[in-house]
Structures are given as structure tokens and as C-alpha cells.
Amino acid sequence: MALMNWALRKSLWVYHVNTGACNNCDIEVLELLTPKYDIERFGMVLVGSPRHADVLAVTGACTRQAQPRLQEAYRQTPKPCVVMAIGACANAQGIFTEAYHMGAGVDVAIKAVDPDAIIAYVPGCPPKPEAMIAAAVKAMELIKTL
């Protein structure tokens, strides 16, 4: 099983969920793929379906419309998986906390579906790509202990 754990750590596939972000976090998530940051060197790739994913990169403030879809996407991700709440909006709805069209918040919405979900918070507005890499490294460390 140590082998499997190693494999999981070395091959985190990311699915990107935008729950109502302003784009900046999304751009920075994409930025991770590009030559400057190239997360493929850690075995991470962006995939097109949550079924393939090990990491849900959630950006955005989780609007009312996006919330049930986020919950569904989480459910459709094979476990074990890590939810990465990227940016102020995904962490705590940031500047949009009081707006009327907000859902419950990314972590609350996901915990409502699965109380044991692993949620990594990456603060920043948006976080620097370096910060996301650091978060990924921390996630790998966490997986080691699973």
C-alpha cells in the first residue's frame, strides 16, 4: 500500500471547478500548467472530467447556482480526493460575503456532502502560482499520512 500511496502522491490530477470566480484564480490555476510553473514535473495534470481527478481545484465564491453543482462534482470525484479552495472567495467568500446570490461557501457546501472531506485552503486574491505549488506540496505531504 505504500506503493499506492506513492503513486497517488506522484500523480495528482486536477479538475478545476469554478463556482463563481472573477477569473483571476482560474488564470493562475491555468498558469500552473504553463512553462514557467509546469506542475507536470510533479505529475500533476489538468483533466477534463472530475472522474479522473484527485484534486478538485475550486475557485470562486460558491454562488447559489454553483453550489449544488459543486456538491455534485465533489460526489462524482473518486475518493480519495483533496479539495483545494483557491483564493479568498473559495476560502471564505472574500469580498462577496454579504452579496445576496451567495451559497454557503465552498468548504461548508462540501462538508455538507462529506464531513470527512480534506480541504486545503490557499489564501490570496488570487494566490500566486508559487503559493499553489506550495499548497500542492503540502497536500502531497498530507497524503503521505493517509
Binding site: T63, R64, Q65, Q67, P68, Q71, E72, R75, E98, A99, Y100, H101, G103, A104, A112, V113
Partner: protein, 176 residues
């Protein structure tokens, strides 16, 4: 009527390019609130929005920018913004949607660009556009109750928030 503007600004005389545009609309214009080199604000007859829109639409270089809905005491003020390039002119025509059912004629049939903004004003402010080609919900979520208009002044964004949508149920968990 918007009391602030009405109080603070005296109607300017029609001048320049903006004046030409406004005068081309004829008596559909009730009052000109501002008219200078690059900007024009005028109030038009709410019953004649379509006619005005048609006239504006065929003007040389005219482009429908957007419309703004604005909750004022007498109803909803709808501001149609038209841009004219390359003069860099923006003309704003105001029409008041008043009355109990807050209705205005839709210009979306003549100006496709107005399609979404009218749907949006219907969503957020409750303005009715009876002859709109496609009046479905655009901008509010599926679980948002009908008849709650968040941009109205009597809506408090924290207190009046409708309950959140339910968590989608999991499909039955039978093993293969």
C-alpha cells in the same frame, strides 16, 4: 422621476452632435437634462421606447451599449445608453416604467443587443417587457423564488436572502 438630477440640473440647450441626435427624435423627448460635447441625457416618452429605439438603431454609427434599470420612487427608471462612433458620444435616454405592473415595451425585437439586458432587468428589478421574444430567467439561479427582485430598494441583501438550494440527493448506492 429621479429627484436628484431633476433638482440639480437645468436642461441644457441642444447643441452639437448630441443635439442633432436628440432633436432627430422629435417630440418623443420630454426633457433634455444634459447635452454637451460627448454626453447627452434625455427623458423620453415611456410609451414610445420602441419607436425611439428604431430611430436610434438606424442612425449612422449608432450602437446600443446597454440599458440600466434604476429603482426610483415612482417605478423603475430604464436608461438606454447609445454610443456613436467615432465621435465618442454616449446618449442616454431615460424612460420611466411606472404603474402597478411596471411595464415597458421591449425593444429587443428591433435591437437584438437589448435582449439580455431586458431579461436581466426583468430578473433583478421586475420590469415587465410584454412583447420580449424570449423572457426566460437569465441571471438568477434556478432556486430563486419568483417575484423577489434583489435590486429593488426594499430588498435587503442579508435579511431577505431566500433559502439556499437543497443538496442534490445521492443516487441509490447499490453495488454491482
Amino acid at each position: 422621476m429621479s429627484e436628484f438630477v431633476a433638482e440639480s440640473q437645468t436642461p441644457s440647450p441642444l447643441e452639437g452632435y448630441v443635439g442633432e441626435i436628440l432633436s432627430a427624435l422629435g417630440d418623443a423627448v420630454f426633457a433634455v437634462e444634459q447635452c454637451d460635447e460627448r454626453r447627452g441625457f434625455a427623458r423620453i416618452d415611456p410609451a414610445r421606447t420602441v419607436e425611439v429605439a428604431r430611430k436610434m438603431f438606424v442612425m449612422d454609427g449608432a450602437r446600443f451599449v446597454t440599458a440600466t434599470g434604476l429603482d426610483v420612487r415612482d417605478g423603475i427608471d430604464v436608461l438606454y445608453h447609445w454610443a456613436f462612433e467615432p465621435a465618442g458620444v454616449v446618449v442616454t435616454l431615460k424612460a420611466l416604467a411606472a404603474g402597478p405592473d411596471i411595464t415597458l415595451d421591449s425593444i429587443a425585437n428591433d435591437v437584438p443587443a437589448a435582449n439580455w439586458i431586458e431579461r436581466e432587468m426583468h430578473d433583478l428589478l421586475g420590469v415587465n417587457f410584454p412583447n420580449h421574444p424570449d423572457m426566460r430567467r437569465l441571471i438568477l439561479d434556478d432556486s430563486w423564488p419568483e417575484g423577489v427582485y434583489p435590486l429593488r430598494k426594499d430588498f435587503d441583501q442579508i435579511k431577505d436572502r431566500p433559502p439556499l438550494p437543497a443538496i442534490p440527493p445521492a443516487p441509490e448506492e447499490d453495488l454491482i
